[in-house]
């Protein structure tokens, strides 16, 4: 269903012609997909009286164990006052542990506690499930394209930061 009309070669892609309507459709796809993508975690978070900001913090603390507060601020692109409220809640509620840095004692390294890992697992289970079924339905070639386009959509600095981390 995918390969029978691959007429345009890689070398022609540079001059790919795209109508405004095709581009607008892509924009709407991003909007609707992102909306579905966040809907499962949003439901779970309600049981904890947490919001998306808590989810993001928990996600990145899990993915980059021991990261510093400043690292998290950079990743999220918000002010420390905004993060502080969320982080304080997570720490007070016993989901996140903040350890004084070993070399530089001004720094704080963030870790999920067992309780934090449990919430993270709940949230990412829901999201992984959606991603897995989408990936399987679309096929591995499509997934490769999906990843490639998303990488190109994001800001270059962001792309550099996260691709360098991943290899």
């Amino acid at each position: 269903m995918a390969d029978h009309n691959r007429v345009v070669t890689s070398s022609m892609d540079a001059m790919l012609f795209l109508t405004d309507d095709q581009l607008l459709q892509g924009i709407e796809l991003m909007y609707f997909a992102y909306k579905g993508f966040t809907s499962d975690p949003d439901l779970i978070l309600q049981n904890y009286s947490y919001g998306r900001a808590h989810h993001r913090a928990v996600h990145f603390i899990n993915r980059r164990k021991g990261l510093k507060v400043n690292d998290l601020l950079d990743i999220l692109g918000i002010t420390k006052q905004s993060l502080n409220r969320v982080l304080r809640q997570l720490i007070n509620d016993g989901l996140v542990e903040s350890r004084v840095g070993r070399q530089d004692k001004r720094e704080r390294n963030l870790y999920l506690t067992e309780e934090g890992k449990s919430l993270e697992r709940q949230l990412s289970d829901a999201q992984r499930k959606r991603m897995r079924s989408a990936y399987r339905a679309a096929g591995s070639d499509a997934v490769q394209g999906f990843r490639l386009v998303l990488e190109k959509i994001m800001d270059a600095e962001t792309r550099n930061r996260i691709t360098q981390d991943k290899e």
Copy 2:
């Protein structure tokens, strides 16, 4: 760089094996790409003291000219009280026109005024530019995969609603 290791065929895609890490990477890609994707319009909207909610309203009123208030509520998935504030501003500011329905006079059909179209163009220019350059950098095969995966990620009802509209 893309096709030399395409070992998995379409028929095998149903059993595509995906590690948790691969799925989490996909989740982060969505997060970072969406962030970049909204950043250009956000800057423009600041000049008007508008937010993303205004952008979404303007976008969909442009895309579905004459749509009813209830249609817009369905698309956005918010309450009418939430939409009302935004819509009232846009109407008062002269960017949106609300016309009494021809058959059913309870209904209101929404249209962009010239001023509304001008804002829409500014916003979508920025977003189309980003999409176009991502599409071109990734190539047409990748774009096809991108679109397919996004369609599968969104809720089935949403997918049915928008794909039926588009063909």
